[in-house]
């Protein structure tokens, strides 16, 4: 596959790893933001090719992991509501809410439909006019443009039976919160390549300056990650703190103008609770008043009120990169992919699930 397999080439990977080893002269801690990057690092064993001085810390870029319990509970409530169908990406189906998850809810009679694209949910609504189709809109900035277009399409088609339950979250506020935390020892950042495909990377320039941290926009294949790490390490060794773009084939500095414009027209920032972390101001997205009729929280009377996390779950610390999954007392014992205590163990790219699956039970 063109533009993909070239970046899985063993020769290129090993050559970059060797160059990284030659460049590093002291310990550095780098955070990769995106869960997909974490997954690739562990799946291909990239961290094993790196010199021991380099520590990779995994960031909160797993929208599934950070969706608050309350929203999952609301999604399940909707799935149980007579006449309603909850349409969701596959990713969310096994994530536990406070009592159960969407798949188990389906086993108990709830109506849950798995979709691959928000447009499919709209098509479903067009086909089944006697049912309320609610789309569980999860995802970072990468996914929002598609959801925006789907809502717009629903309006164009005059659908009265389509709405979204928005769980969308934004990367820059979370990154600022993490870097600004007094416990943060993160020295360099690999920014999420696909988020930047949409948003560009102008937003990271003030972050790099404020915190003195180099930010390298990085792709998802092993060679991309290694090149991104090399660029980051070079900056660190040279004492620079700039924003660089490794993923130039897919990312432009200003991002995708059309996508950004439509998203800003239809959505506004709201405070959002991040599972395991807490409320981060202006870090979520909700439909603007002109589009509020498509907001499931406005259309349905859903239970409100906060829900407490399982006390053993330290997902917040894992998501902030402060702890590794195996440092959790429950890791691989009371918390496994079959019986997860928190989202990072369930999400296909949650750090805990990745560590479990790829056998990283210790340093």
């Amino acid at each position: 596959m063109k533009h993909l397999e070239e970046y899985r080439d063993a020769g290129r990977a090993r050559a970059l790893a060797a160059e990284i080893a030659r460049t590093v002269t002291r310990p550095w801690r780098i955070m990769e933001i995106c869960g997909g990057q974490t997954h690739a690092i562990l799946r291909f064993g990239i961290d094993q090719l790196l010199p021991p001085e380099l520590e990779l810390v995994h960031g909160p870029g797993c929208p599934v992991c950070v969706t608050p319990l309350e929203l999952i509970d609301r999604a399940i409530e909707l799935a149980h509501t007579p006449g309603a169908v909850l349409a969701s990406f596959g990713d969310m189906l096994r994530v536990p809410g406070s009592k159960t998850d969407l798949l188990a809810a389906r086993a108990a009679g709830a109506r849950v439909a798995m979709v691959y694209s928000p447009l499919e949910a709209v098509r479903l609504a067009a086909q089944k006019q006697d049912q309320q189709i609610v789309f569980f809109a999860v995802g970072f900035e990468t996914t929002v443009p598609g959801v925006a277009l789907a809502v717009r399409e629903a309006r164009r088609l005059g659908l009265r039976n389509f709405s979204i339950l928005s769980a969308h979250v934004l990367v820059p506020p979370a990154l600022r919160a993490i870097l600004g935390s007094p416990q943060s020892r993160i020295q360099g950042v690999l920014a999420a390549g696909h988020v930047c495909t949409v948003e560009g990377y102008e937003d990271y320039e003030p972050l790099a300056a404020d915190f003195g941290v180099p930010v390298v926009v990085t792709g998802f294949e092993p060679v991309d990650l290694l090149q991104g790490i090399l660029l980051c390490v070079r900056q660190l060794e040279q004492g620079r703190a700039e924003v660089e773009n490794q993923y130039a084939r897919a990312v432009r500095r200003e991002g995708n103008r059309e996508a950004k414009a439509l998203v800003r027209e239809m959505f506004e920032p709201v405070d959002r609770k991040w599972r395991g972390i807490g409320v981060i101001p202006s870090s979520g997205l909700a439909l603007r008043p002109a589009w509020r009729e498509f907001d499931a929280e406005a259309r349905f009377a859903l239970s409100t009120g906060a829900v407490a996390e399982a006390s053993e779950c330290i997902s917040g610390l894992v998501l902030q990169g402060a702890k590794k999954p195996y440092e959790c007392a429950a890791f691989a014992t009371r918390c496994t992919p079959e019986r997860p205590l928190g989202a990072p163990m369930v999400s296909s790219e949650g750090a805990c699930a990745a560590y479990y699956r790829y056998g990283r039970h210790h340093v």
């Binding site: 399409e153 130039a248 084939r249 996508a259």
Partner: protein, 82 residues
């Protein structure tokens, strides 16, 4: 997050910009994707597709430059020709 895969536009269907769709080939597997956010894309272009939406066209020149840069950075070994 954000599983997005590069594919080649085979054929464009549908009229106005926001409903423009295309058949995109991913290594021989063809799937439909919305081109609403890449209005300038044409058949033969590679686009990055996420959840049924093309988010950006792949810049062939940048791709070539990236691979060249990688070769310089690492002094790439002989195995790994593509």
């Amino acid at each position: 997050m954000c599983l997005a895969i590069p594919g080649e536009i085979i054929e464009i269907t549908g009229g106005d910009p926001l409903t423009r769709m295309a058949r995109v080939s991913f290594g021989g597997v063809v799937r439909e994707a919305s081109l609403a956010y890449v209005p300038e894309a044409k058949p033969g272009d590679y686009v990055l597709v996420h959840a049924g939406f093309a988010l950006q066209t792949i810049d062939e020149e940048e791709a070539r430059r990236t691979l060249e840069l990688i070769a310089q950075m690492g002094g790439a070994e002989e195995d790994g020709a593509s």
